[in-house]
């Protein structure tokens, strides 16, 4: 929607003074944008420049010298980093796909009025409202081997439990389960909104044509939800990279690097190994991934309508 009001001339907006001095029209906008721009410069633009500089330089006692891509070569040669990349890819797939499928199922079943539906929507949404560390604190006991909630009840059913967080083959899956539990309700919200935007006539027409539930889902609902899924998918992918708080409480990246995710790796290099070059190179790689992801989503949807 193009707003007629967007096209008002600068002179009118900034008062008669601007008509005499064309550059005076810039003073007010820049003054009002100033506070935001200062903070953006300090904490969004500058850190990108700094991290690129840090990644391509080595600081020694004799001074700083340019080392080109040496930090990146060392980074990609580090088996722990390779493992972190792989883990994060698995974690992204393992969280995004089930969360979106479940969110769709929740939304389809709970769309509409009624107290029971409202209550169940709230149940699915509650995990979104608690901090990720709080969720991790709860799951610490759920995943506890032997006497924990899951193992205790498995044993009562005569099944063997497992050391969910201590077994390198299971730990990443356990973390993934926690994330799906935490985030599915958030994505459900957007799909519910998307469902309500589908005109009733479309569903009724499909019903009259004798379409069964799966056909209606396949040919009416899912096509209408495509923009919603594109948007929610990007959010879910971003979350898979940027939210690692539960790793700190539950596994600290272990056992044997099984739950080391990119951001946790960066934290470790910076705060525990004090390897600034390595941490910076890993940050640059992560930023590159995020940029590629965003570019992909922008090219597939029409992009934020703000880009006009």
């Amino acid at each position: 929607m193009t707003h007629v009001l967007d096209t008002i001339p600068a002179a009118q907006a900034a008062g008669p003074a601007a008509a005499r001095r064309p550059w005076a029209g810039l003073a007010l906008p820049l003054a009002l944008l100033g506070p935001s721009l200062v903070f953006l410069a300090l904490f969004t633009y500058w850190p990108v420049a700094e991290v690129v500089w840090d990644a391509t330089h080595e600081v020694t006692r004799r001074g700083t010298r340019f080392v080109g891509l040496a930090n990146f070569a060392a980074l990609f040669a580090d088996p722990t980093f390779q493992r972190a990349l792989l883990n994060n890819a698995l974690y992204a797939i393992g969280t995004v796909v089930p969360s979106l499928v479940l969110a769709l199922a929740f939304a389809l079943a709970l769309n509409g009025a009624g107290r029971v539906r409202a209550l169940m929507r709230a149940v699915f949404f509650l995990p979104v409202m608690i901090p990720l560390v709080a969720a991790a604190a709860l799951f610490l006991f759920l995943f506890l081997p032997g006497i924990g909630l899951i193992d205790h009840h498995l044993a009562r059913l005569g099944l063997n439990g497992a050391n969910w967080l201590g077994d390198p083959d299971l730990a990443l899956a356990a973390i993934t389960v926690l994330t799906v539990w935490k985030n599915a309700g958030y994505y459900m919200l957007f799909i519910l909104a998307g469902l309500q935007a589908i005109p009733d006539e479309a569903k009724e027409a499909a019903l009259l044509d004798g379409a069964g539930p799966w056909q209606r889902l396949r040919y009416v609902t899912l096509p209408a939800l495509r923009p919603t899924f594109a948007f929610v998918g990007v959010i879910a992918l971003l979350n898979a990279v940027t939210q690692v708080d539960h790793v700190f409480v539950l596994t600290k990246g272990g056992p044997s690097d099984a739950t080391k995710l990119l951001l946790f790796y960066i934290y470790e290099q910076a705060a525990e190994r004090y390897d600034a070059g390595r941490a910076a190179a890993a940050t640059v790689v992560t930023l590159g991934l995020l940029a590629a992801l965003t570019a992909l989503s922008l090219s597939r949807s029409q992009g934020p309508e703000a880009a006009r």
Binding site: P29, L32, L138, L140, V249
Partner: protein
């Protein structure tokens, strides 16, 4: 909500099965919360940590002990200061920038707006290593302002305010201009009062995300007495885990989660709409 959307009048089996599956999943989803409540009110040493049946002799002892063993009131205050501080600055920066992008026309507006939107992708938490250096250089390491600073400019807030300022009838501003109102008076007396829903929506999203934040404060804060709730809960949990004090962990988690959970349950509609607004991109 129309009746047709709450289920067609057919005798199809699939949607019914799906509905029962979702009801089952809702029960599964509620289990961690249910355990938290049951365990938090259970007397310590009853040896039934994994039971989901409420204790017949509920007690507040776990809460008392959690309250006493970690400095939760102080953590609570720190979280409150951080969230309020971030929000106060954000409301100013986002309103000013939103007004500029909604109503002023000047060369380079598109480029500047794109520069703002970059922040949606370069989430501050990914930039934690270089940002920590900046914070240290500014002398803000181990301070609450250091936790707040990277969030003071907000692309999301600017975008949201720009959208809602555009809905305000232009004639109102023109009339005020004729009366000699300056830009600040026009924003304060015309735009802000007419865009309260957007301001509330933004506030809810902002406070929720910063109340729940962990990694960035972990980087910035060193002194135990400056920890926000999330950091306090993490260290409290790790020490209680050593003592196998699961009831204590449940009580601590409950205390930390309660403010936002309660706010959500009371103002559900508002929260849901706010989170939906965060998806307007």
């Amino acid at each position: 909500m129309s009746a047709t959307s709450s289920g067609p009048v057919t005798r199809e089996v699939t949607p019914h099965i799906a509905r029962w599956v979702v009801i089952g999943l809702a029960l599964v989803w509620a289990v961690p919360f249910w355990w938290m409540l049951v365990a938090a009110f259970r007397p310590a040493g009853s040896g039934a940590d994994a039971s989901l049946l409420p204790s017949l002799t509920p007690t507040l002892a776990n809460f008392a002990e959690a309250w006493a063993s970690a400095d939760f009131p102080l953590y609570f205050l720190n979280s409150l200061v951080i969230c309020a501080g971030i929000l106060a600055v954000q409301l100013v920066t986002a309103s000013l920038a939103g007004y500029v992008f909604a109503r002023l026309d000047f060369p380079g507006r598109g480029i500047l707006f794109a520069l703002f939107l970059v922040q949606l992708m370069l989430v501050p938490v990914v930039l934690l290593v270089p940002n920590l250096k900046t914070i240290a250089a500014l002398g803000l390491y181990d301070t609450l302002p250091g936790v707040m600073a990277p969030y003071c400019a907000t692309a999301f807030g600017t975008f949201l305010m720009r959208q809602s300022f555009r809905e305000v009838p232009r004639e109102l501003e023109d009339a005020a201009m004729i009366d000699g109102a300056g830009w600040w008076a026009r924003i304060r007396l015309i735009y802000l009062p007419l865009t309260k829903p957007a301001l509330v929506a933004f506030s809810i999203v902002s406070v929720t995300s910063h109340w729940n934040e962990f990694l960035w404060p972990l980087m910035v804060i060193n002194s135990p007495d400056r920890r926000p709730l999330t950091l306090g809960l993490a260290s409290f949990t790790l020490s209680a885990e050593g003592m196998q004090a699961w009831g204590l962990i449940a009580a601590g988690t409950f205390l930390v989660s309660l403010p936002l959970l309660a706010a959500f349950l009371i103002f559900q509609r508002r929260f849901v709409n706010s989170f939906l607004a965060s998806g307007i991109k």
